[in-house]
């Protein structure tokens, strides 16, 4: 059996917790992303930036995980932003209209500047 892994990097910038993801997000890897997001939220990190700039592919499963995390955070009074400039990833947000639901930004600095 082949194993497919995502790589995660956590950091903190002002009040924001940043989860930078690298790899391809599909049904084989989406559970890893869900677990990372759930852990951060359980740790009380309710201002979350998910950096997808090093993600090469994301399908509906990955989108579903982000939507679930976004909804959960909103219920808790938190916020989630997605940082991404990859055309392939932006395309799936655009196709599904989720770019109107989950705020997107080009980079970390623009999220920090707007907060």
């Amino acid at each position: 059996m082949t194993t497919v892994d995502l790589t995660f990097e956590n950091s903190t910038h002002e009040a924001w917790s940043v989860l930078a993801v690298e790899g391809e997000i599909d049904v084989a890897t989406a559970a890893q992303l869900r677990e990372q997001l759930n852990t951060l939220v359980a740790e009380g990190k309710h201002q979350l930036i998910v950096d997808l700039n090093r993600v090469e592919f994301m399908d509906s499963t990955g989108l579903g995980v982000l939507v679930g995390a976004h909804k959960h955070l909103v219920e808790l009074g938190g916020v989630m932003r997605v940082v991404c400039t990859q055309p392939t990833i932006l395309k799936v947000f655009d196709l599904t209209g989720l770019n109107a639901v989950i705020p997107l930004a080009d980079d970390l600095d623009s999220v920090l500047a707007a907060s």
Binding site: M1, T2, T3, V4, E24, D26, V27, A28, F57, D59, S60, T61, L63, G64, V67, P87, T88, K91, V92, L95, T96, G97
Partner: protein, 139 residues
């Protein structure tokens, strides 16, 4: 429409496991590149192959392999996928809302059907065509 028997066909058999979706995407990209499609269309075909193969993987069927073909015509690629061992009259795998929204815009037509003991899909991608014309899956 009758099939173009002179069209080149790329055939692939992959184990029915999500770990192989990356390989399927790679083949889809390569086929679209060789067919002269542009970057947008290559991306579309890669996304469609991923979503549709995942649907076949989620079907209740005995066969543990998925058989895929990419039929290449000028300005058009048809992807067909099939998984045998599907019980006649069984439940077809359901596409999520997100999946349907994506598929309806990345390919020009697609359907998911079950007959003859197999669950199958067929999707058509025309180069440079306006997206969003699919009637959606037959599920």
């Amino acid at each position: 429409m009758s099939p173009d028997l002179s069209a080149p066909v790329v055939a692939l058999t992959v184990p029915c496991a999500p770990e192989y979706l990356g390989l399927i995407r790679l083949v889809a990209s390569s086929v679209a590149t060789n067919a002269g499609m542009d970057v947008d269309d290559i991306d579309d075909l890669r996304i469609a192959a991923d979503e549709l193969c995942y649907l076949l993987m989620s079907a209740t069927a005995d066969e543990q392999d998925i058989k895929l073909t990419f039929t290449i015509s000028p300005q058009r690629i048809v992807i067909e996928g099939k998984r045998a061992g599907w019980p006649e009259g069984g439940v077809l795998p359901g596409a999520s809302d997100l999946m349907v929204k994506i598929l309806a815009q990345v390919v020009d037509d697609f359907e998911i059907t079950g007959d003859g003991g197999s669950v199958k899909f067929r999707a058509v991608k025309d180069a440079g065509a306006t997206t969003g014309t699919s009637a959606g899956p037959a599920v």
